[in-house]
């Protein structure tokens, strides 16, 4: 955890989301309630007493004196270790970080701030501010793109750039968590903007009711963004994905290629970080290779004329399948925004409707990749 300006009498508190157990006389266990992380140590009974006295008010020196504990250096090393493990916090530092947020935001995000403090091994206030400073560019306002926007806005993101040309229709009800009957006929971008501003009046969206094709200049949008999400599957997911992926690579921007598209309704999507993870071209090469004998044909002739005209596609799925892919993406995206750890992400995986286990593909960086490879 960040700063190390402790002195001998620094006041510490136990992380509010950690339970502490003494097992017998000489084992102490710290249990992170939220993510089940355990830190277990064999210690002397004096140390158990020391930990029991850490209360956010008394300094370490004061506690040691009251318990007649000497060995100052050992105590300091032990306390530093607990601090590095986010078991101990310095309330004074937390107050400083808290004071950098508006009281309304402190109240609004209170519960997730508490969670962040234990999950991300740093002050939750600091983590929350990192999220609030983001500007997110989202390509494709479908079930997944809009779903991610909604959950991001709920989490504190206030700046969005939205790109989609489609319009809300009657059957959008089965896909879009922002849906209202009164939105029918509006562009998805405009409808989503309206909904996000109801969640948080401070949300600002820059809207491009547009498609992305060969000559769309996406660079200015990407330059402005701190994080990019791609869910576009039109005109063709491979094409848009590669174009966006290469532009993000060139501009060194983190990208999430979301799952949840047809035939992959509960896929996880993947985080793409330049030179840290496989790039979009690595993925494309991987799929080209593994799917080279896979030439599926679909009986599109059997889509009845009236439905073909209305653009009703006969693909099946539930809104909650999209909610899975959205929520999964959110876990990875928030983690990256706060920790910048590219390696938490497991890459592309697939969850099936009738088996609760995600199978990951384990796609690796391609050393010969012409975008991110050695040459």
């Amino acid at each position: 955890m960040g700063k190390m300006h402790h002195n001998n009498n620094t006041v510490y508190a136990i992380n509010p989301a950690v339970d502490v157990y003494a097992i017998g006389d000489d084992v102490i266990e710290f249990y992170f309630i939220n993510n089940r992380r355990r830190v277990t140590m064999q210690v002397s009974p004096q140390v158990v007493a020391l930990v029991a006295n850490i209360d956010g008010r008394k300094g370490i020196e004061e506690i040691c004196e009251s318990l007649s504990i000497g060995e100052k250096d050992n105590v300091q090393a032990f306390v530093d270790y607990l601090f590095a493990q986010a078991i101990l916090l310095i309330p004074e530092d937390m107050e400083i970080e808290k004071s950098q947020m508006t009281p309304e935001d402190v109240k609004r995000y209170d519960r997730q701030i508490n969670y962040f403090t234990s999950l991300y091994m740093q002050s939750g206030y600091h983590a929350q501010q990192k999220i609030q400073q983001q500007k997110i560019l989202i390509f494709g306002i479908g079930a997944i793109g809009a779903g991610i926007a909604i959950q991001l806005a709920m989490s504190g993101v206030r700046h969005f750039i939205l790109v989609d040309k489609d319009v809300v229709t009657e059957d959008s009800i089965q896909r879009h968590y922002f849906f209202k009957e009164s939105y029918i006929g509006m562009t998805k971008c405009d409808a989503l903007t309206d909904y996000l501003m109801q969640i948080d009046r401070q949300v600002k969206c820059e809207v491009h009711n547009d498609i992305v094709d060969f000559d769309t200049d996406i660079t200015p949008w990407i330059e402005q963004a701190s994080f990019v999400v791609n869910t576009l599957d039109e005109p063709y997911i491979g094409l848009t994905s590669m174009k966006i992926g290469r532009a993000c690579y060139a501009l060194r921007k983190p990208l999430y290629v979301a799952g949840g598209f047809d035939a992959h309704l509960m896929s996880t999507g993947e985080l793409i970080i330049p030179d840290e993870t496989p790039c979009v071209d690595c993925y494309t090469t991987y799929f080209k290779d593994t799917l080279k004998n896979w030439n599926p044909k679909y009986n599109i002739e059997a889509v009845s004329e009236e439905h073909a005209v209305e653009g009703v596609f006969e693909v099946g799925g539930l809104p909650s399948m999209a909610l899975f892919s959205v929520s999964y993406a959110m876990i990875v995206i928030l983690n990256y925004m706060v920790t910048e750890d590219a390696h938490y992400s497991q890459g592309r995986g697939e969850l099936l409707f009738d088996k609760l286990h995600i199978d990951y593909l384990n796609v690796l960086k391609n050393p010969n990749c012409h975008v991110c490879g050695n040459q």
């Binding site: 509010p16 950690v18 339970d19 502490v20 157990y21 097992i23 309630i33 939220n34 993510n35 089940r36 992380r37 158990v48 930990v51 309304e104 609004r108 209170d110 519960r111 997730q112 508490n114 999950l119 059957d171 009800i173 089965q174 896909r175 849906f179 109801q198 948080d200 047809d262 035939a263 030439n295 599926p296 679909y298 009986n299 599109i300 059997a302 009845s304 439905h307 596609f313 006969e314 693909v315 099946g316 799925g317 539930l318 809104p319 909650s320 399948m321 909610l323 899975f324 959205v326 929520s327 999964y328 959110m330 876990i331 938490y344 497991q346 697939e350 099936l352 009738d354 609760l356 995600i358």
Partner: protein
């Protein structure tokens, strides 16, 4: 029902057909199930002509294959039973225009359009009770409405607070201060003005079901954690078991955010009491020398996407239970989503012979003893 020559069949457009030499693979892309058959390429090609307009007899005649109809019938029958081909025995109702994806999903499980329509209408007519409009109940309710459910009973005694907005779907800044039931009902009516919603502004306690006549209910989803999840679950469990109502005990709540909701079909799957007994067995450790030290400012947090993920699985399971699909996963199983490895961890929790609720001597349902 076997396929007859007067049936109209359609090769479903979401089935991917991959022909490699002698083997043809039919990939049900929505649910990623695959069926591979050794068959001639010409036959595979022929299947693409099945668009639901002509009867099998007319279709074979139109392709000058009338004399071979008898030989083709077992194949058509097999592909129909496996939901590659669907019998177009009726036109879908108007609901199809709003919910084509839900219909198409059901087509992976039922071989005739009549059955698909019937099962969707079961979903339309069902009435779902959701107790607790928090970070799970809100997402589950919206998901079910979007899947076609149109009758709800909501129970919650709380008002919307600013600190709810980051984790509870459907509330807005304008909802702050309003009763959760009112604000949420209004939100769902924005999505579908015709949805029927009843609300009870109250908390769950031992006599809740004596105090309130809840009417007919097809599924109860408990997402209430006040006073504790264990207490509310037992109250719901007892009521649901004594009335034979399928129920789901939602996960995703405080301290158990990573837990996925358990589904109980009374008399068929492990009940809550079975779960409790199984858990007691698992947790049987000697705690006599463990002492919990006081953490004076103990406050756990909440991670919104984790609750939403748990809600997604609960809504999937709820839909299966309502539509009568037999692929429930959260029965007799305790599942957590582990953030550390980004995957699910499943532990089997089977039905118990010695369960006081549904075992041999169970007070609600009794297991049949083996005859021998």
């Amino acid at each position: 029902m076997s396929v007859g020559i007067n049936d109209r069949l359609k090769l479903r457009p979401s089935v991917a057909v991959v022909s490699n030499g002698e083997v043809t693979e039919f990939f049900l892309s929505d649910i990623r199930h695959s069926i591979a058959l050794r068959m001639q390429k010409e036959v595979t090609k022929l299947l693409f002509g099945l668009d639901g307009r002509l009867t099998v007899g007319e279709f074979m005649d139109a392709n000058s294959l009338g004399s071979q109809t008898g030989e083709v019938m077992p194949l058509l029958d097999f592909l129909n039973k496996n939901c590659v081909l669907i019998k177009v025995d009726r036109k879908y109702s108007e609901d199809y225009n709003r919910y084509p994806r839900i219909y198409s999903l059901l087509e992976n499980y039922f071989p005739t359009q009549q059955q698909v329509e019937d099962h969707f209408q079961i979903v339309r007519k069902s009435r779902v009770m959701i107790i607790g409009l928090g970070s799970v109940g809100t997402w589950v309710a919206q998901s079910l409405l979007m899947s076609g459910v149109r009758h709800f009973l909501f129970v919650d005694g709380d008002r919307v607070e600013l600190s709810n907005l980051h984790r509870q779907g459907g509330f807005t800044e304008a909802s702050i201060g309003q009763l959760k039931t009112d604000a949420f009902a209004r939100r769902l009516k924005e999505m579908d003005a015709e949805v029927e919603i009843d609300c009870i502004v109250d908390w769950l306690d031992e006599v809740f079901f004596e105090r309130h006549d809840i009417g007919h209910i097809d599924l109860i989803i408990n997402c209430a954690d006040k006073p504790t999840v264990d207490e509310t679950s037992m109250i719901v469990g007892k009521y649901a078991m004594s009335h034979g109502i399928p129920h789901i005990i939602g996960g995703g709540y405080n301290l158990h955010q990573s837990l996925i909701g358990q589904v109980v079909i009374p008399g068929k799957t492990a009940c809550l009491e079975c779960f409790r007994m199984n858990l007691d067995d698992l947790n049987e450790i000697d705690t006599s020398n463990i002492r919990k030290l006081e953490n004076k400012n103990r406050r756990v947090g909440s991670f919104p996407p984790l609750s939403a993920l748990s809600s997604a699985i609960t809504a999937n399971e709820a839909f299966k239970a309502l539509a009568g699909l037999d692929n429930l996963t959260m029965t007799g199983q305790r599942t957590e989503f582990l953030l550390r490895i980004l995957n699910f961890a499943n532990v089997e929790m089977p039905r118990r012979h010695d369960c006081k609720w549904c075992g041999y001597e169970g007070k609600y349902y009794q297991l049949q003893r083996d005859k021998d």
